[in-house]
């Protein structure tokens, strides 16, 4: 598949934005702790950037994304404003969910971001909805659900594959198989090594990709989105990847050191950079500039968040009813 160099550079930038967002978020979290403020759960997407970016590159604002507890990357890849996201982490009124949702509940329906989820597997059935709506209206939007290997063990996920395939819904299920669910290794979660082949038993397309290879994810997602838009039906994509950090900020690292080192060596950002440098699609100087710009953008976002006002406590009942 030919990908325009501009597109690749744009995707690289998004991947850097996600990584930089996570690092900045961790700083904010620690700043909070230092003054006795615990800012809830924070799940880093570092290491998995190629998945969100490679998939969302094919989506329009009117296509929907349902994210997980580890959702910052999906939100950024779908086009969310990092300033509003950062403000959300601090619970500010200027936050992407007006400070009511926090890290796990970032919503921006105007760009098709239908929120993270605190319930593992919670997004899987919801993602059927916009796919159904497109089919119902005869339009060509698609719906994407990102979820982890752990979520694939939820019963509801299997109900979703069955229904999606039965009704040929334009939905794409993207499993981020990072080999761990909190402290549980995948061998204690699945009796088999792969998810993708299970799609066949539901009569739908299933494909496994190297989730740390942006180009591979981009290609697989392109086909899946194309199939969905044409009304051919759903696809299950299993992206094999790895999170660089422990499950969340308060759970210590449980994974073997050699496994961590192995996956760090397959870092998706370094990999795409290597590719672009080899192809002459970007120079060292341009790359350095890109990183500097992104970091400045995230610093500005952090400042925006810190300076933003918290919601007025008297407004706690706002937004309950439509």
């Amino acid at each position: 598949m030919q990908i325009a160099q501009d597109d690749l550079r744009r995707m690289l930038r998004l991947m850097h934005t996600i990584r930089s967002f996570e690092l900045t978020a961790q700083t904010l979290f620690r700043e909070g702790l230092a003054v006795g403020q615990f800012l809830g759960a924070l799940h880093s997407y570092e290491g998995e950037e190629a998945v969100a970016v490679g998939v969302c590159a094919h989506l329009r604002d009117d296509d929907c994304v349902f994210s997980s507890h580890r959702g910052h990357g999906h939100s950024i890849a779908k086009g969310a404003d990092v300033r509003a996201m950062m403000a959300e982490l601090l619970g500010r009124e200027s936050g992407i969910s007006r400070g009511r949702g926090g890290s796990m509940h970032m919503f921006a329906p105007e760009i098709g971001l239908m929120g993270g989820n605190g319930i593992v597997g919670g997004g899987t059935p919801l993602a059927l909805g916009p796919a159904f709506a497109a089919q119902y209206r005869g339009t060509d939007q698609v719906s994407v659900c990102f979820f982890g290997d752990g979520a694939a063990s939820q019963g509801v996920f299997h109900e979703c594959l069955n229904l999606a395939s039965l009704w040929k819904l334009p939905v794409i299920y993207v499993c981020e198989n990072n080999l761990w669910a909190a402290t549980t290794p995948i061998c204690d979660g699945w009796p088999v090594a792969d998810l993708a082949p299970r799609a066949e038993s539901f009569g739908m397309a299933g494909v496994a990709v190297d989730g740390n290879d942006l180009l591979a994810v981009y290609e697989a997602a392109g086909e899946a989105v194309g199939r969905a838009r044409e009304g051919v039906g759903p696809t299950l994509i299993e992206a094999k990847t790895y999170r660089h950090r422990p499950h969340c900020m308060v759970i210590p690292e449980h994974r073997p050191e050699d496994e961590l080192a192995d996956w760090h060596a397959r870092d998706p950002i370094a990999r795409l950079e290597g590719h672009l440098l080899r192809e002459g699609a970007i120079s060292d100087v341009e790359l350095a500039d890109l990183v500097t710009e992104v970091e400045a953008e995230l610093q500005a976002a952090a400042d925006f968040a810190r300076e933003s006002a918290s919601p007025d406590a008297a407004t706690f009942a706002d937004y309950l009813w439509a």
Partner: protein
Amino acid sequence: MRNVTYIRALNEAIAEEMKRDEAVFVIGEDVADCGGVFGVTAGMMKRFGRERVRQTPISEAAFTGLAVGAAMAGLRPICEIMYVDFATTCMDQILNQAAKLRYMSGGQVTVPLVIRTQQGGGTCEAAQHSQNLEAIFAHVPGMKVAMPSTPYDAKGLLKSAIRDHNPVIFLEHKLLYETKGEMPREEYLVPLGEADVKREGTDVTVVATSLMVLRALEAAETLAGEVSIEVIDLRTLVPLDFEAIAASVRKTGRLVVAQEAWTSGGFGGEIVRRVCEECFDALVAPPKVVGSADVPMPFSPGLEQAVLPDADAIVDAVRAVA
């Protein structure tokens, strides 16, 4: 006497009962390798082995259902659901199955099951990780419901729950885990269905559960010399020790119920109903329920604190009825 944490108390209760009875086993997510995300089953895997400390995939419906069925087959499962919020994904197993099997079978089947979970707000974890759902479980006949407020009660009640022949939902509070309390070295049990007077008083009865017992005791200190409060810790909602409530209300003539759950439709309203029906003549002021504001839990710390009831809210309610 020793001073131990609530976590330690629960841990001891489980270990003692596993030692006492081979039929007792632990099942749930992340319970083996890290001893549960809150550390309640820490050390169990080492001591009792993986056969009796079963770490599951993220499949609440499957493993809770398994626990119900294992109880029908004569085992005594202690099933851990990480957050009460996640119990909503296996309500069929709890409310349609576990709670009804004995009755539907005409008393032929027993379900000696403990479901341990934790609930409550105060940690900025937003709407899907902060709920208090005891009223749902208490509403459905066939479930016993325990809500210990101290390490002493936690240990004694959990041991009784494990020995009980009925399904018990055991609701811990995430903010109580690190609290400490006195505990004898010798073995003891706290029976299900016996309230405890945590502070004697003469002017106003405050009925409380879980973390709100601590808040009620704070309120009693604040009001010492002004209003004499009797704090009744229900310890279990089902069975309900209504006699303890009635005896106190007959003495004071005034009632405040303090719960962290939403004010409307909660168990506090149920206590007020019973008191009105059975002790109306003793009341000299309308009873009051102190609870959370009726909204999903907001993420933003200031909003969260505005939604949660604190000791001051109890002080205000007591003054209003005194």
